[in-house]
Every structure is written in structure tokens, then in C-alpha cells.
Assembly symmetry: C2
Homo-oligomer: 219 residues x 2
DNA sequence: AATTATTTTTAGATTTGTCTAAAATTAATT
DNA sequence: AATTAATTTTAGACAAATCTAAAAATAATT
């Protein structure tokens, strides 16, 4: 069975949203896809008929095994192409997303496998996101230094660079701990300080030294 | 202005057909695109409104300057991707066409230019067809040895490898001369003889020696 | 618990590209 | 030149994906 680009984009959006939540709501999807709730409802019926997801009226949606497999295939292609664009064609890491959004819908299975081999079977894309292998398996999310987290990418604090009491005191004061979810709003090149935003709090700035002492994983 | 994949495929088909003919007919286009004449008429009206071609009822169609420019851009992408698939990803030359049909519709201008640079600005694709440069200019059609002509590709005899009377006698007997249009129907690996078909004639076989003495250009 | 607010679904319309069948035009043939 | 044949266009319908506006269901609040 084959799927339209629109259908694939729905499946991919649901896949990403259900990482965070469990079930995905119609409105969430509409916002993610820049469309209207009514359109989402129509499409969900169609995708249910194709057995890509389980969906009950008013109860949200969740991918089936088939849906997950399809989503992983698309994510695989997206991230391989991003790797190709940055690594082979010398694109900047911040300008590849749009292009990969198009390339991910190219259907040839053989192309994907040959591209993967040519690139040397990379495990992570240029944003640090893991690339699923041909069976849909992907490496555990990479822990990266907070200073390397891309702007506006939600992440969760997963470790600290030292156990010094000075560091822990500072973290306690700023209400940052393992599991805290945050994203970077701005980076200031003058002193390499960064402005971060924690859910339900006002944004605030932290120093380069502190940022370098924190490890996060993208969620 | 941007164009749908369908619109691009129409423009490309018209471009290829008008190389041979002058004006392109509705039925020719319908056959080329595996669709119906009525659908073609509808689309031609649309493309005329977008100023990509000149079209008068019942009188066939011809690309405008804008249309030609668009067509050359698509052909450029198609042939660059074919080159990439064969040269970089080690595809066979006979299995890249379908994939390139999809890749040619990727929109990023920057991608095309970076790909072109990465490949070293190739002048001909794996089938011997010239690749338009970023301004739409392409090298004169390459003269290739008849023995290297792909099967079912229409070509025109453009030169002979020697002026020997023996060769010319044979050519005269077989009614082959400069300008003769032909295509290869079969290649026999046993003796490297090939079966060729000239318009309005029955197919017949010629020897490896004769094929190697003939140069053709793809039309 | 009853009311209000929010979310989700339905119903009907729109756009793009396609189709069939019939009408109009052009080309071919007697 | 008149008739037949082939091509092309029009008219109306259909499927995919979307939208708006109204109805239905769920969630939140008093």
C-alpha cells in the first residue's frame, strides 16, 4: 500500500506528538499541521480505515504498529537526508529542515539504503536526533551539552557535569534538576550566556559556565 | 510563482515533445502523460493563464520563454540527480529514471546548485543527455557510438567512423545515411550484434563492426 | 448539579486534477 | 465538394484534501 504526502505528514506529526503525550488530540494535530480541526477529523477517519492508527470519536488518536513503522521510515529518510545535506553538501545545520521535509517523501527503498551506506550508516542527524535503522530501531537519545542545544528545541535535563556543592547550590536556587524541561530562547554571543525558558516560568539568563555544566536530552 | 508536480510534468512533457515536432498536439501529450485528451485541454488552459505556453484551440501548444526556462530547470534537476545516483550512489544507469522523476520536483534552488558543485558540474548524464547549466544553457548533444546507444532511444546518425568504400557500400545497401533515424531494439551479447529499427521499415540486425563505425546523436 | 466554555464532529461547499460522453472542429477520403 | 474519420473541446461528474459554520460531545466552573 502506498500513501500520499499529506497522509505521510499526518502520520509523522502524530508520531512526534505522541512521544510527549500518550494520546494525541485533534486540536494539537491541527496546530502542528497548520490546518483546521475539521480537516484533521476527516483525515483521521481515512487513516483509521487504512489501519495506520486507532481512533475513537472525541478520544484522540494513537498510531498502530503499521503506523509506527511508516512513521519511523519517514523519520529515517528525513534524518538521513539532513545528514547528507550537512555532511556531503555543506549546508548549515539550520537550513536543512525545509529541504528534508520534501526529500523524506521520495519513495525509493533502494535509494534510502544506498544513501545510508554512502553516508556510513550514521546514528545521529546534525541536530543530535537519532536516525532509525532499516528495521526502525534507533539509538537511545543522545545526551548533549546544553550549550549545543538548538534554539527552541524542547529538552530535558539529564545530567550535570560535576557534583560540586557550588554547582548544586546554584541549581537548587534556580529550581533546575534532573528531568526539568526547558528550551533555549536566545543565545548571546557577547558572553555566550543563554536565555532559557522553563515551562510555566518566565525566561531567564544563565551563564556560559552553568550551561556547560548541564547535559540535556531532546524530548 | 510556484507550480504543482502535475504542472511541472506537463511542462516537461511539452518540452521533450516539441524538440521533435514544432507544435505539440493534445493527443500526443495525452499519450505521453498516460492521461486523456480532455484532461490535457483543461490543463493547457491553466498553463496558458500562467503564461507558460501559447495555446490556441485546436492548434496545439508551444512553450513560452518562461515555460522553456521552467522546463530546463526541471531537466537540469532530473539529469543531475541521475548523475548523482549513478556516480555517487552506484545505481545502475538503467534503474535511475523512476527515482529521478521524483527527485526532479524538489524545489530548493540551493540544493541544486550545491549538488551540481559536489558532482563537479557534470555536462552529461549517465544516458549521454546534456545537463543544462544554471542559466539553462546545455552542451551540444553528444555524439555517441551506436554500440553505446541505450535500447529504445531514438537517435539520428550523425557521423561515420571511416570513409572506406567498403563501409559506404554497406551503408548504401542498408539505406543508412547521415540523418537516418533509428533505435536499437535488442542487443545480442553472443556476438555483440544489435537489432535496429528504422522508421517505416522492418527491424534488422547489424554486426558489431558496423555498429562501432556509426555515430549517432540522441534526438 | 447546572451552566458555561472548549473541543470535536458533521454537513455542505471549494479547489485541483481527473474522467466519460457528447458536441464541435479539423483532416482525410471518396 | 460532400461525406466520413479523427482530433479536440465542452459539459458535467467525481475523488482528494481542504474550509466555514453549525451541531454534538466533553471539560471546566460556578
Amino acid at each position: 500500500m502506498s500513501f500520499s504526502i499529506t497522509e505521510e505528514n499526518y502520520i509523522k506529526a502524530i508520531f512526534h506528538l505522541q512521544q510527549e503525550d500518550g494520546n494525541v488530540s485533534t486540536n494539537e494535530l491541527a496546530a502542528e499541521l497548520h490546518t483546521k480541526a475539521a480537516s484533521v477529523t476527516d483525515m483521521l477517519k481515512k487513516l483509521k480505515a487504512k489501519k495506520l492508527l486507532s481512533y475513537e470519536k472525541y478520544k484522540g488518536v494513537r498510531l498502530s504498529a503499521d503506523g509506527k513503522k511508516l512513521a519511523l521510515g519517514i523519520v529515517r529518510k528525513h534524518r538521513l537526508w539532513e545528514y547528507f545535506l550537512v555532511d556531503t553538501l555543506q549546508f548549515g545545520w539550520d537550513e536543512v529542515h525545509e529541504v528534508a521535509e520534501e526529500l523524506e517523501h521520495i519513495t525509493s527503498k533502494k535509494l534510502v539504503e544506498k544513501l545510508d551506506a554512502f553516508l556510513g550508516h550514521p546514528k545521529f542527524d546534525p541536530h543530535g536526533d537519532p536516525i532509525p535503522d532499516s528495521h526502525g530501531k534507533m539509538a537511545a537519545q543522545q545526551h548533549i551539552n546544553l550549550i549545543d542545544l538548538p534554539i527552541n528545541k524542547m529538552a530535558e535535563v539529564s545530567g550535570v557535569g560535576s557534583q560540586s556543592t557550588e554547582l548544586l547550590e546554584l541549581l537548587k536556587h534556580k529550581h533546575i534538576g534532573i528531568g526539568t524541561k526547558l528550551e533555549i530562547k536566545k543565545k548571546f554571543s557577547f558572553d555566550n550566556s543563554i536565555e532559557i525558558k522553563i515551562k510555566n516560568q518566565n525566561a531567564f539568563t544563565i551563564s556560559q559556565q552553568l550551561a556547560q555544566a548541564l547535559f540535556v536530552k531532546i524530548v
